[in-house]
């Protein structure tokens, strides 16, 4: 399968995943490039699920880099791209969530993503990341706690 076919078949999916995290077309394009190049350098082409996961992880890493650069410069995280019918409150909520995810350590962010977005079980996450199940549980617990505190969510509101 040459690179053109790979871009045609998986490019849009990877871009959508990256855009869903980053909300910035330019950054999402760069993440998509990186993911496709990594896929091309592997011995065999990863399946769609793995590509989606790679796109999500690279996007989170990008968020983290964006956040660390803005912290150094004392600036703000770039606003999400404007899109129609988006309430300002929801946009602010998304920005806060991006900032909170960017502040998570890599393992916590990945475990959180695989659990609550990809829908994997702790056992599946452990196999995917090559860590123990207990480490996955701990990471997910810490991620939830950290996100709660960063988003100022009271624990009593859990249903």
């Amino acid at each position: 399968m040459c690179w053109r076919q790979i871009v045609d078949e998986y490019g849009e999916m990877i871009f959508r995943v990256a855009f869903g995290v980053l909300h910035n077309a330019h950054d999402a394009e760069e993440v998509a490039q990186d993911v496709l190049l990594e896929a091309l350098h592997r011995d065999s082409l990863p399946d769609a699920g793995l590509l989606r996961r790679m796109a999500a992880f690279r996007s989170i890493d990008r968020l983290r880099r964006r956040h660390s650069h803005d912290s150094l410069d004392g600036g703000t995280i770039p606003a999400a791209e404007p899109f129609p019918d988006q309430l300002s409150e929801t946009a602010e909520q998304i920005r806060n969530l991006q900032r909170a995810i960017a502040s998570l350590p890599s393992r916590q962010a990945r475990c959180f993503w695989l659990r609550f977005v990809e829908g994997l079980s702790n056992q599946q996450i452990a196999e995917s990341l090559e860590i123990s199940v207990s480490a996955v549980s701990t990471a997910i617990g810490k991620a939830k706690q950290s996100l709660r505190s960063k988003l100022d969510i009271e624990e009593s509101k859990i249903p």
């Binding site: 690179w3 871009v7 490019g11 855009f19 394009e29 993911v35 190049l37 991006q98």
Partner: protein, 309 residues
């Protein structure tokens, strides 16, 4: 809805309502079709370009060691040159000279007769000498500033170098400018030496120091930039125009030394008066060999990549 999304939604019920809503809002945002089409078109153009210039990483550890070594030696040279200690060190390592070099007006006169070139008038010659000194000092100062600022921002520098965006920070620009100024100063010095002493180069401690300085600065610049523009994911690197500048400048100086030594025999008799200069010369040849192999591998892999696309 895919199976994973459905399972994700089930697990998301474990989250707080606000967090769940924010996550849902973030993930449900879709780009417009025009944005998607533009992104796919860009991928079609940029992916093959990155494939062509992508290559295996030289090794982060090797680059770090090279930069550390170059920085330490550079520091020693800068300090020692200012106190004339360098001349004392070189003197201690003098090998027995084979034949004395006639660095006298007789050689200049001989050169005039052979080449038929007119001698420069004193005023232009002094201007060349002055410009040579100013360029050398300015280049040295710029390299020193770039070196200090690079050390201060050590971690950021290396991290930035791996972003692959190709942008050059201010202290990198100062380094490149310093190297260019220094090489210009060296060339002007060679010109002045030609009209004054009848040869482009002579192995005195100051000139040896200049050569070592430009060699180390170029190697430092190359190690930072020649292999630094890499993809974080693939670890590939790019032979940047900065590496071309540093390698070319160093190669030109070496070439001038060889030509100025008037064939290898003169180099052996004149240049071998100092063990230090011989060590440096060997070091320089190894550097040029490494860079040449590196450049050859880059172009070869580029040709191979193009053939399979």
């Amino acid at each position: 809805m895919s199976e994973s999304n459905r399972q994700g939604n089930e697990h998301a019920r474990e989250l707080d309502i606000e967090l769940r809503n924010a996550l849902s809002a973030m993930l449900s945002t879709e780009p417009s079709q025009s944005v998607i089409d533009s992104a796919i078109a860009n991928l079609h153009s940029k992916v093959p370009e990155r494939i062509r210039i992508d290559r295996r990483d030289f090794g982060r550890r090797h680059r770090v060691l090279l930069v550390i070594a170059a920085s330490l030696v550079f520091l020693i040279l800068v300090v020692s040159s200012s106190t004339d200690a360098w001349a004392e060190v070189v003197k201690d390592y003098q090998l027995p000279a084979n034949e004395p070099v006639p660095l006298s007006t007789a050689a200049a006169e001989s050169h005039e007769k052979e080449a038929g070139a007119a001698t420069l008038a004193p005023a232009p010659l002094r201007a060349v000498l002055l410009t040579h000194i100013v360029s050398l000092l300015a280049g040295l100062a710029a390299m020193g500033v770039a070196w200090i600022t690079t050390l201060v921002s050590w971690g950021t520098q290396l991290r930035t170098a791996n972003d692959g965006d190709g942008s050059l920070s201010i202290h990198r620009r100062i380094l490149i400018g310093g190297i260019v100024l220094y090489v210009v100063g060296l060339i002007l010095g060679c010109v002045w030496s030609w009209y004054t002493w009848g040869r482009l180069w002579s192995w005195d401690p100051r000139e040896a120091f200049c050569l070592i300085t430009i060699g180390l600065a170029s190697s430092w610049c190359y190690s930072l930039h020649g292999v630094s523009v890499s993809s974080e994911i693939t670890g590939g690197r790019r032979w940047s125009h900065v590496a071309t500048v540093s390698t070319t400048s160093f190669g030109l100086i070496i070439l001038m030394v060889l030509l100025g030594g008037q064939y290898a025999s003169d180099l052996r008799s004149v240049g071998a008066q100092s063990l230090t200069t011989w060590v440096f010369f060997a070091f320089a040849m190894v550097l040029l060999l490494i860079w040449s192999v590196d450049f050859w591998k880059t172009t070869r892999e580029r040709r191979v990549s193009q053939s399979v696309l």
